[in-house]
Amino acid sequence: MQFLLFNFLSPALGLLFQAATNGRFATAWEKAQHPDLSKFLIIGALLFIIGVAGVLTRRNIIVIFMSIELILNAANLNFIAMSRYLQDTGNVNAVAGQIFAVFVIVVAAAEAAIGLGIVIALYRNKETIWVDEIDILKW
């Protein structure tokens, strides 16, 4: 605990203090009060990464499907944010992003239906939902 406190926490606090005195915090606070397109893109990127991490690390095939839904949803967030940005730069009919988001939702629904059908068939034949135990194609 003491090791953590002195070797990690105090330099971090020192850095934070330095940033605060340099006025970097003030500009960050100023920016945080007025979120713009880049904030939405960052949130979309983080959701995407969390989805990718879920697909790569989980063993449960249903959770993997849910992570894919997260990825598609992050893509939707980017589409909508870009569509709004284009409208705000004077392109009044820039609703293509929203139209695309509708199609992404349609494809996600179709993918979920097919994927869960595969899960049901797999569970009936192999009695498992762990992806590392499903290896009939491996030899």
């Binding site: 945080a32 007025h34 979120p35 880049s38 904030k39 939405f40 893109l41 949130i43 990127a45 983080l46 959701l47 995407f48 990464i49 969390i50 989805g51 990718v52 991490a53 790569l56 690390t57 989980r58 063993r59 449960n60 249903i62 849910m66 992570s67 839904e69 997260l70 949803n73 967030l77 909508i80 944010a81 569509s83 709004r84 409208q87 705000d88 730069t89 004077g90 009919n93 609703v95 293509a96 139209i99 988001a101 509708v102 939702i105 349609v106 494809v107 629904a109 179709a110 993918e111 979920a112 239906a113 097919i114 869960l116 059908g117 595969i118 899960v119 049901i120 068939a121 569970y123 009936r124």
Partner: protein, 229 residues
Amino acid sequence: MILTGWEAVFFWVFSIAAIFAALLTVMARNTIHSALFLISSLVSVSALFILLRAEFIAGVQILVYVGGVMVLFLFVIMLVNVGSEERGSEEIFNHPRQVTTSVIFCALLVGGLLYAINVGYEGLQKRDETAVTVAAGQRTADEQNLPEAATGSSRITKETERVGSGLYRYGSLPFEIASVLLLVAIIGSVMLARTLKQEAAVDDTAPEILQREAQHDPEIAKLQSTIAQ
């Protein structure tokens, strides 16, 4: 597109909620909890859609994702639930080495994406500086002309109308293709989820498999004999 005042507060509330719910979706031990956290993440993202003035997509997101897809997920979880996950007897993540590699990969991806967004957004700002200020004035003038809602606190936008006309004007062919895709998905999932008995009843099974299964299932043996006639 710069949010101010309460919109900024709600932006931070809902984006932090979306990210934490997404993290818990990936990390929850119980699959049902995963699904419920995913639902809260999707609802938070639809709130972000409302902040982006995309009310139609927000409604579709809640109706289709939360009302349709997630209910389907919950049904399937309850159908195949093995229970060993919650009891703690099964590892929920892959082997530690695979997890380490993928976490390193994701960290690199985060760094790359955030760098790309920052650089790209600076370029965009430089390009669109004048267009944004001109369009902002135009937009506030346009919003004054919109009809007022019954409560008097807001105005009724024409966003949904524009999405609808855009969908039928520019996206009518993809729209029809999407309907065919949904039909294929329905038929495909029905075909995939049939039991062997149902497959045998419509004579849709390979004879060898039928022969093998008939040895320890009397009902399939009966079906086999009716097919043979």
